[in-house]
Structures are given as C-alpha cells and as structure tokens.
C-alpha cells in the first residue's frame, strides 16, 4: 500500500494540490475553490487524487478563510475591552499619516467602531505591579450589552498586560462565567509585546476571524474524517511552520497569511538541497509580484506586519508585494508610456482572454511576442485570441509613434525594470547585494520574466523549480511544526543576572515543548530556536538576533553588534545594549521524503513539441518549444527556448545555458560568449 503526503493551497480561484508518494513520486492537481466552504474543494481534490485516503500520512493545507473574512470585512462583530481612561488608543491608531500629499487622508478603517470599545477600571504599572485592581462591577453593563446585542466575540487588551497578564486572565473568567460560549481573545496570549495599539489590533483581528476559521476547520475535519483519513491534519502558519487544526483554532490569526509563505519555505528547502544559501524568491502572478528572501538558508521572519494598514504582531515570513503582474495595464499620458500598477483583474482580464478587455496587459505583450503560445495556458484548455491582442497593442503603439513589436517589448522592458528597481530597493534596505543571490522564480508569470529580472540585477543564476504554478503547495510539504513564543524582557544587557536568561528561556521551552507534545510531535524530534530582540539603549526599533549558542552575555553582545552592522551599516561596540523581547521558536521535525524525487510522466516521448517565431530584441527567432515533464534530468538545452508546462511557461532568450538538474529544476545561466 502506498503512503501519501499531501498539501493543499487554497487560493481565490483554484485549490492546488501536491502529492508525494513514499516511493518518491510527486504529482500535482488542481480543483476549483469552493468559496462558501473551502473544505469541500479540498475534499473533492482528495477524492480525485488519492485512491486510498486512509494511507495519507500527512495532510497540510494553507487557508485563506481568515484572510478573506478580513479583506472582505465579513468577520465576526467584536467588542473590545481596554483599560479605563485610555481605550481610545485603539481608535486613535497612533495618529500617523500614511500618505503625505492629501487633505483627505482617512485612517485605515478599524475592525471595531468606537461604540464597541469599552473600558473597565484597572491599572497595572510599567513594572507589572498593580496600581488599581480589576473592577468587577464594570463588567455588568458590558455583559448586558453582549447579551442584548448577541455579540459572539470579545477582545481584551489591558495596559502592560505583556508584563502582568493577571487582569486579562481574570477578565476572561468573569466573562466566561456569565457567557460560557463567548469567544474571548486576550491580547497577551496573541502577542506578548508592548505597544497597546498594535497589541489590541492583533487581538481584535484574532477575535474577528476566530469563529469563522473555527467553523471552517471543524467542517474540514469532519469531512476529511468521513473519507477515513486518519492522520493529524495540519495548517500552514504565516511563520512558515505548521500546526495542528486544534492549535490553529486557538490562535487563528497565526494562519492569516498561510498561503503565500509556502513558496518561501519551498525556497528554504531548495536552498538546502541545492546548496545555494541565498535566494531571492519571486512569485509573479496576475496582479502582484511577491518577493521574499532566503538568507543563509533561513527565511526572513518578521514579528510584525501591516495588513490593509492595520498592524498585526505575529511571526511571519516577510513578503514584499509590488503591484506588477501579468494583468498590469499599459496606458498613455502626455506622450509617455506607463505600465501598471493598475491591473485588468479577473474581469475583463487581458485582451487575449476575449472577455472585452481593450487595454493591453503584460500577458498580451508576451502573447504578441510569441513568448506565450495561444494554447500555452492550462494545457490548451483555454485559447488566447492573437488577433484582437495584436490590434490592441498596435493601436496604442501608433499613438506614441512605435510599431507593435517595439511597443510590446517596451511594455515588458518597463515592467521588468520596475520590478528589478523595487527588488533592488528592498535589498538595499536590508543591506544585501542582489548579486550574491540566485533568483528562484515561480507563480504563473514568474518563469516568463525571471531571466530579464536577473539580467537587470546582475544575478548570474535563475532557478525555475518544478511545478512553478503550485510551488507554494509543494513548499508546505517541506515544513516543520512550529510554535512561536515571546516574553517581553526589557532589561539592559549589563543588568542581566547570569542565570536569568537561561531561566526565562527554559520556561519558554517547557511551554513550547508541552505545546508540541500535545500536537503529537515525538519528544526526540523537538528542537528550539532562541532569538532576542535587542537594540542600543535609546533606540526605538530592535534587531532580532539568534542566540541559540548559549547565554554568554559577551558573546550575545558581539552577535548583536554584528547583526546591527549588517542591517544598518554601522555598529557602536562601546554603546550600551538592551534586551526588549525574548523569542522562542519551538520546532517539531516532520518526516519528509528523502532523496531525489522523480517526475511522473515517462520520459520516452520527445520533449520538443514544436517551434515558434518568438521575438527577442526586435527580431524573430526560431525558438524550440519544449514540454517540461518530458525533459530528462541532467539534460542541457540551447537558447532561445520556451518550456511549457501546465501551470507556467519558462522563456529563455538567446545567450543563456539551460540545464535540468537532478531534482528537475530548470537552471539558467549566462552562456559563454
């Protein structure tokens, strides 16, 4: 009997599957997403792809249920309770302007209107001591309102609860005694960090999506069990690790961005197996271009992000999004040609889809230049209209005195340069030189543009992984179970008692260990990653440094100076340093398929499926078109070349060497001249 490891990445339109058999074979599948109950799509995919569901060893999925509820503002009504006197800190939202040249600036709309923000009297001081005990009577009118108005979710955020959570815990007891079914989120349980606006916003977001995510997970579990899947079900977290469904229900916010991070984690896995410590991972789809970094084999993890302008304190893989994709529109202004950031979206979509679009997009330019074939998409199940595309491009080209070819190549050149510029700025911010990286490109449009991006950034190697269109799902199979824990620890380094650090980390580790054990991770597969947020005294922002190597303070200080130098370009070895937070990632290693995996289709058939007169640099060039799944491992191809597969098309212009490596990746490097 074959055993399976299965991942499902639930996207807006399609749910992607990647299945690994214990024989080492890998295959992919795709079903339509069922937006009303995404569990049904997962179920039908499993039925279609897996003959023996009872032998599924591992099932993980990335869900957008919480994210969609958030983006569409369809979450649960939340009532927020804060410390008496200062509850407006949530609605003031720190008072900053995110756009500078407008008289009409509006702050991002918060999830809880001021009328649903309530106060109770209590006050804890900065050092955790109680200044004013929790006033129980203040809950009476709140409980009455919750009952009267049928509110199901409450978030609680008290000042300094990250040092002393006692009042938040008491408050939950009081509420749950009166209202046993009420969903209560405590801010210190979501993010044990200072900054009351960011922490309350995180707690509110958790409360806002909790009931919806819970209903979905319960439904998924029930459905999957009904088809006799026995293994524990896992969910991808924004941090790049997985957790069990049960754990996900406690902190649904941690799964908010679970889809896109799969690609980065796939990048980490490839980084290790290819011995390429530094990867720029680019995921280009229809409307957006996501960039993430793998540095020294590790994903770049941040502890804070903003979504739709609302701050969230939660560990997540850092993904930078740029508004450029296959759907980006060309437009004219004062005799100038501009491309994007506006996108044709799903409707009408690119001109070539024939759904009424008239304004050329990047996809149209690729088709016009024959880099994309009219039957390239979805294995020819969708035919692209070359004639109306050519009209649209030529009409716009005439207005600025260009021919269609120059205009279409120009659109791509503008977009590629813009994406490369944005990538460069992000790497400059991080103190990184892109030339030290390989470019890993995936997503539907990534492999079509990757070589040009690499050229702009002087990157010498492009890697197109297998299944670029479902790479995020593949990445989910490469993860560990992960629980992130934080302890606020505001203390100058020279005031730290020698065993204090060890004691605090030990506490976190025992907390993390019991969480993983309850997730079913065997004792001997648990390991920990200790980090600390540190900074020079007087700074506001901190640098997260890994300090797993021990508690030698001198050494930690040295690591901090080095990390500061890398990030900011300077360090001040004689300046005093302080801790802000201690962080622990508790990781549970999962069994993965080892050794090279093979492609599914037999390789005997001819990989060449035709030729096209593709245009590069204004000239038509006869270009061989290959079918990717027929390319033998280890083979070398000349350029120019177009390599087609179900989910993506790779385009390589003249002047490059193409190599299919032993894992099936396409590796493109500049050719010898």
């Amino acid at each position: 009997m074959t055993n399976y490891r299965v991942s499902a990445d639930i996207g807006g339109t399609f749910t992607d599957f990647v299945v690994e058999k214990d024989t080492g074979q890998v295959f992919t599948g795709k079903v339509s997403t069922t937006p009303n109950n995404p569990a049904l799509g997962v179920l039908s995919g499993l039925k279609e792809l897996i003959p023996t569901p009872e032998t599924i060893d591992f099932l993980v999925h990335g869900t957008t249920v919480g994210l969609n509820a958030f983006l569409e503002r369809k979450g649960e009504r939340v009532l927020l309770i804060m410390t008496g006197g200062v509850s407006d800190a949530y609605s003031i939202a720190r008072g900053d302007r995110k756009e500078l040249y407008t008289l009409k600036y509006r702050k991002p709309e918060r999830l809880v209107p001021r009328r649903d923000v309530h106060e109770v009297r209590e006050r804890i001081k900065w050092d955790g001591s109680v200044l004013e005990p929790l006033n129980r009577e203040d809950f009476d009118p709140i409980i009455e309102k919750i009952n009267r108005e049928g509110i199901n979710a409450v978030a609680i955020c008290f000042i300094h609860s990250y040092v002393q959570p006692q009042h938040e815990l008491e408050a939950r007891k009081i509420l749950n005694k009166a209202l046993p079914n009420l969903s209560v989120t405590l801010s210190h349980e979501i993010a044990r960090e200072w900054r009351e606006y960011e922490r309350s916003s995180s707690a509110v977001t958790n409360a806002y999506i909790a009931p919806i995510v819970e209903r979905y997970l319960v439904s998924l579990e029930k459905n999957v069990r009904s088809m006799s899947v026995k293994s524990t079900l896992h969910v991808m977290q924004s941090s790049g690790g997985v957790i069990t469904l049960g754990a996900a229900q406690k902190k649904p916010i941690y799964t908010l961005l679970s889809g896109p991070v799969g690609g980065t984690i796939g990048g980490v896995a490839l980084s290790n197996s290819l011995e390429r410590p530094n990867l720029l991972c680019v995921d280009m789809g229809g409307t957006s271009f996501d960039l993430s970094l793998v540095i020294n084999g590790q994903p770049e993890i941040t502890s804070e992000t903003e979504l739709e302008g609302l701050p969230l304190l939660m560990p997540m893989v850092n993904i930078h999004t740029i508004g450029a994709g296959g759907g980006s529109l060309a437009w004219l202004e004062a005799g100038a040609v501009r491309v994007g950031p506006k996108s044709a979206g799903a409707l009408p979509g690119p001109v070539c889809y024939g759904n009424g679009g008239t304004q050329p997009t990047i996809t149209d330019a690729n088709l016009f230049l024959k880099r994309l074939g009219s039957g390239s998409l979805l294995s020819g199940r969708m035919t692209l209209d070359e004639e109306i595309t050519a009209d649209a491009i030529q009409n716009m080209a005439v207005e600025v005195g260009l021919d269609g070819i120059a205009f279409a190549e120009g659109m791509l050149a503008i977009t590629n340069a813009k994406m490369a510029d944005a990538m460069r700025t992000i790497t400059v911010e991080q103190g990184i030189d892109p030339r030290d990286f390989s470019l890993l490109a995936f997503g539907g449009a990534g492999p079509m543009h990757a070589v040009w991006l690499a050229r702009e950034l002087e990157i010498s190697e492009v890697i197109i992984p297998r299944f670029p269109g479902t790479f995020s799902a593949w990445g989910m199979l490469q993860t560990d179970v992960r629980q992130d824990l934080t302890k606020n620890y505001y203390c100058p380094l020279d005031k730290v008692m020698s065993d204090e650090l060890e004691n605090r980390f030990s506490e976190l580790e025992s907390e993390g260990k019991s969480a993983l054990i309850s997730e079913g991770v065997p004792d001997d597969q648990i390991f920990f990653l200790r980090t600390a947020d540190m900074r020079y005294i007087g700074q506001e922002y901190s640098v997260n440094v890994e300090i797993s190597s021990g508690n030698d303070l001198e050494k930690i200080e040295h690591i901090f100076h080095q990390a500061h130098y890398t990030r900011y370009g300077h360090s001040t070895p004689d300046a005093p340093v302080e801790f802000v937070n201690l962080r622990l990632a508790a990781l549970g290693r999962l069994k993965k398929i080892s050794g090279p995996t093979s492609v599914t289709e037999t390789i005997s058939s001819d990989p060449v499926i035709g030729t096209r007169n593709t245009i590069f640099d204004g000239k038509e060039q006869t270009t061989t078109v290959y079918r990717r799944d027929r390319l033998a491992l280890g083979s070398q191809l000349p350029s120019p070349a177009v390599i087609e597969e179900n989910s993506a098309t790779t385009v390589v212009p003249p002047g490059y060497d193409i190599h299919i490596d032993q894992l099936g990746n396409i590796v493109v490097t500049p050719g010898a001249i």
Partner: protein, 576 residues
C-alpha cells in the same frame, strides 16, 4: 538638431530616477544613527542633473519638497560651476539660505562620469544637536546665534579626502557629537548610492540619451501641471489668519496670502504677513517656497513624483525682512509654525473655485511637549521626552475630517505608545482620548482633537509649544470653526492653570499636565448634515447629545433615536 527619444527608454529612465532616489533614502534611513531620522523620517534626498534640477526626490518630511536644488545652486553660486571636483562633499545649514532651522543639515556631492560633471546628489537630515544654547532646538531664542553653529556652503571633503579639522569642529560643537558624525556619514553614503546608481544608468544608456529623456520627462511634468492650473479660473484670491505669538509673548502675528491665477500660472504673494519676529518663528525664503509647494501639491496632481519640470507654473514672492523671508539675525528654531498656517491658508483662498479639492483648516501646529528630568528608577539618569501631538483635520466636500491625526508639516510620525512611554520616562499617562465636540460642525464634520494626561512621578521641567488658539481651525462654506487647543496644569485642583507655551517650567511629583489639541474645521452648513450621521457620531462619542442638538439641530431621545419632529423644527430655524 532635434533628436527624438523612444518613449519606452524615457519611461525606463524616469522610473530609474524615482528608484534611485528611493535607494538613496533607503541607504540614509538604514545607516542613520539618530531616531529622528530613521524613525521620525526628518530627512530628504534627491538626485539632480548637471544644472541642479531635480531628477528624482524621495521625502521623509513633506516640508522639504523641492528644496534641495536651491542648495546645489547656492553652492555653485559661491564656488562657481567649474570648481566642483570628483570626491568633493559640501555641507550647509544656514537658515537664511536653506530656509529651515539650523538642525536641518544638507550634504551635496557632485557626480562625475567620463571626466564630466553630470549631476549632483543631495541628502538633508535633521541633526539632533548642533550646539544651541539648549539641547535640541531652543524654544525661547531671539537671535540665530543662540541656535547653534551656522554654516554657509562649505567643502567638507576635498577630492575624496575629509577635511578633518571641520569634522572635528562639528563633533566638538554638539552634545551628541558621535551620533552627528554617524548621521553625516549616512548622508554621504546615501549620496554615494545615488552616484553609483546614476553612473550605472549612464553606462547603460549613455549621457546623450539620458539628457534627452530628462528633457522629455520635465516636459511631461510641466505640461501635466500647466493643464491642471489652466483649468483653475483666473483671479486673485486671498486668505488670512493669525498665530498666537512669536513664542516670547508678543502680540498676535498676522499671516496673509494672496494667490493669483492667470492662465496656466499661479503666483503666491505673502506681502501683508508680519515682519520678522523677535521670537524663533522666522523662516528663510527657500523653506517658504517649499511650504507653498506642499500646498500646491495638495491641490495639483498630488500623486505625481517631483522633478525639474514640476512647480514651473508656481511663483512665490515675499518681501525681504518679513517672517517668510527672514534676514540675519532673526531666530528660526520654530520656523515651521507659520508654515503650518500658510499651508492651511492657500486652500482657503482657493476654496470658492476649487470646492471639490479643498478642505477646511486642520488643528494647525505640531503641539510639542518636552519633559526633562532625572529618572529615579534608573539611578537618576537624565531623560528628555519629546512629543508632537495629533489633532483634528478639516472636513472636505465628500468626507469628514480625520480625527486625531498628526499635523501637515510632519511626516509619518506616530504617537508614543503609553506602554513604551511609561517604561522610558518616570511619568504615567492616565488618560488619552478624543475631545468630544471639538471638531467643527458642518455638513461634513471636522475631526476631533485629543487629550493626553501626564502624571509626574518625580520633579521635572516642562516645555510647551502649543499654537493656533487665536485662529483655531476654521470651517468653510458655512461649516463651523473647531475648538482651540488648551493645556491645563493640575486640572480640577485649586492651583489649576492654563497655558500654551512654557520653557523649563518646574513640576513636582504628582503634578498633572493635561494637553488638549484642537479639532479641524467643518465643511458646509451643519443643519444640512444627514441626521443619521449625527446620530452615529453621538453613538460613537465624537459629538455629545447636547452638541447634536445645539450644533446640528438634531434632537435625540434618551435611547438615541431621532426625535423627528423636534429635529425638523430646530433645523428649519437654523436654516433661516
């Protein structure tokens, strides 16, 4: 010879210019030493061409809009355009030249390519301390000599070699000399980033193509602006307001703007505003021009990047010796206070003809509170807290003014979280919230101001700079004015007192300081506001039950449902 350039190449080069400025900014923010730069974003960088015109600019602070090219031209005026050498670095901070306070320090470097001077890079940043009589920027200076060291255009690196004696002078004249040198190096690093990136663009496209692209980019920008200004009806439009005082207890300070639109040209004349003042609210002309450009940008093509073609349609005039064109020895430490009002007045002047674009006034100034002292929790180590305070913004035709937002001359400033504040300083923040009924009533409502209550845990000194009590945010088109700011020491006690400005006022443990900022003005007649919206504001607490009745004529029952008959009667009376 009329060479044409391919529009594709132009667009790639245009995007590259914008991106180079962003890379420079990223370098500066990444390497700066002091939080006022990397967190307060009190900085600006630009890439300029061989004539000192802007190719790309990236801004932290709106007030530095289109201000760096002036520095390049001033340096060239002094040393001559041919005197620049590869590896030179220039410095300047003279308020009467750069326009701002002396803390704002500008670094300029020439760019050479194939032995030819092809452009400049410039980076400005706020240096935390430059040796003024008090730390930071003094609140009660009355001549510039009290405000720190003052430099005209000065070569601080010559052909790549630092002039050590000058850097040594910098260091010796700052209370935070180490950080000052670090910030200066960050600015130079930002300039180097811009230089390298610009040279890469020249290597790829060649100088001739880049020049052709530049001319075309400038032409596009100028045309788009001229088209917009052309659509504004011709005429002369005026507005005026007053500042409370000059910071040293003077009489109110009048500010007057006259905007003339003629075809596709806009002229802003500031004659009629006060002469330069004794107190530190004077401004160099260069910065006045920048502030007018901010106001212009708020109304004309706000989303377009700035380059050498921008602002060609705009002329600014002010008489010498007025506070907008201050001369030695006028004090300039709080130069931005009149600029906040100036930026409010220009939309006001144009409101009748640009009804869709303008807004009522905002609360007006940075509303700064400093507290200094020694922290007994940390071995009596010295502390200094510095905070601007948010307030209400003006309503506009299609929307309510934003409640509790930072003022127009500030960048992306965020308030200090209570939890961070209480950890850093021996002060408790016991109350922080919206001031009900402080937004100007109107068909669309002005944003509300805020209150913030500081409880001293130890003896300390208080500095305050609160403004715009005499000209609080005005309403337009029948909208009402907003409430003014007010600061109260020990509210509700027998020694309660009110004030707006203070310098080193001694406070004891348990003293309370309540700061309160004003709201934004309303837009349109309040009685025309949708009664349901008024009711919503009452439910959310931005407007009180009484305020709804008195200001809006909306009468609510105790359960907050609308008393329709009473409301109709009351509103009819208001409309008469």
């Amino acid at each position: 010879m009329d060479k044409k350039i391919n529009p594709i190449t132009t667009e790639i080069i245009r995007n590259a210019f914008v991106s180079i400025a962003q890379d420079m900014n990223a370098t500066l923010i990444r390497s700066a030493y002091t939080p006022i730069i990397y967190e307060g974003k009190d900085c600006s960088v630009a890439l300029l061409d061989e004539n000192g015109d802007v190719l790309g600019q990236s801004l932290g602070l709106p007030l530095f809009l289109g201000n760096l090219e002036i520095c390049v031209k001033l340096i060239a005026d002094k040393i001559g355009w041919d005197a620049f050498k590869p590896g030179d670095v220039f410095y300047m901070n003279d308020s009467y030249m750069t326009g701002t306070h002396l803390n704002d320090s500008t670094i300029v470097t020439p760019i050479f390519w194939n032995n030819k001077r092809v452009g400049f890079t410039a980076a400005r940043a706020h240096w935390l301390d430059i040796g003024a009589k008090d730390p930071g920027a003094p609140m009660d200076s009355h001549e510039i000599y009290q405000e720190g060291m003052r430099w005209g255009p000065t070569r601080i690196y010559e052909s790549g070699e630092p002039r050590e004696e000058i850097l040594d002078f910098f260091k010796r004249n700052s209370r935070f000399g180490y950080g000052l040198i670090g910030d200066m190096n960050a600015q130079i690093a930002a300039c180097r980033t811009g230089e390298n990136r610009f040279q890469a663009v020249l290597n790829r496209f060649g100088h001739e193509t880049v020049i052709l692209a530049r001319d075309e980019i400038f032409r596009q920008s100028e045309k788009l602006e001229r088209d917009t200004v052309q659509n504004i009806p011709d005429g002369v439009y005026t507005a005026e307001g007053t500042l409370d005082d000059d910071g040293l207890g003077s009489d109110p300070i009048p500010i007057k703007v006259e905007v003339q639109i003629s075809g596709d040209e806009m002229t802003v004349d500031l004659a009629g505003s006060a002469n330069q003042t004794h107190g530190p609210i004077n401004c160099g002309f260069a910065q006045t021009i920048s502030a007018v450009r901010v106001a212009f940008k708020l109304l004309v093509n706000p989303n377009r990047p700035v380059d050498g073609g921008t602002f060609k349609t705009l002329t600014v005039t002010a008489p010498e010796g007025s506070l907008f064109r201050a001369q030695e020895p006028a004090a300039c430490a709080w130069y931005f206070t009149p600029l906040g009002l100036l930026i409010d007045l220009i939309p006001k002047a144009l409101s009748d003809i640009l009804m869709d674009s303008v807004a009522a006034a905002h609360y007006g100034d940075s509303m700064v509170i400093y507290v200094s002292g020694q922290d007994p929790r940390k071995g009596n180590s010295p502390f200094l807290s510095v905070e601007p305070t948010p307030g209400g913004w003006g309503a506009y035709k299609t929307g309510d003014g934003q409640d509790a937002l930072i003022n127009n001359v500030n960048g992306s400033f965020k308030d200090l979280p209570i939890e961070v504040y209480e950890n850093k300083y021996p002060i408790m923040l016991k109350r922080y919230g919206f001031r009900t009924d402080t937004g100007g009533a109107g068909q669309t409502r002005g944003g509300t101001g805020i209150y913030r209550e500081y409880h001293m845990q130890t003896s300390s000194s208080l500095y305050l700079w609160f403004e715009r009590s005499l000209t609080p945010a005005w309403g337009i088109f029948g909208g009402k004015d907003a409430a003014p700011p007010d600061v109260v020491i020990n509210p509700g006690s027998e020694n309660e007192h009110h004030l707006l400005k203070a310098s080193a006022l001694p406070l004891q443990a348990n003293d309370v300081v309540l700061t309160q900022t004003g709201g934004g003005g309303g837009f349109g007649e309040p009685w025309k506001r949708d009664a349901e919206k008024v009711r919503e504001d009452v439910i959310d607490g931005y407007v009180s039950h009484d305020g709804a009745e008195q200001d809006y004529g909306v009468v609510l029952h105790d359960d907050l449902t609308i008393d329709k008959d009473a409301t109709e009667a009351r509103r009819e009376a208001m409309g008469l």
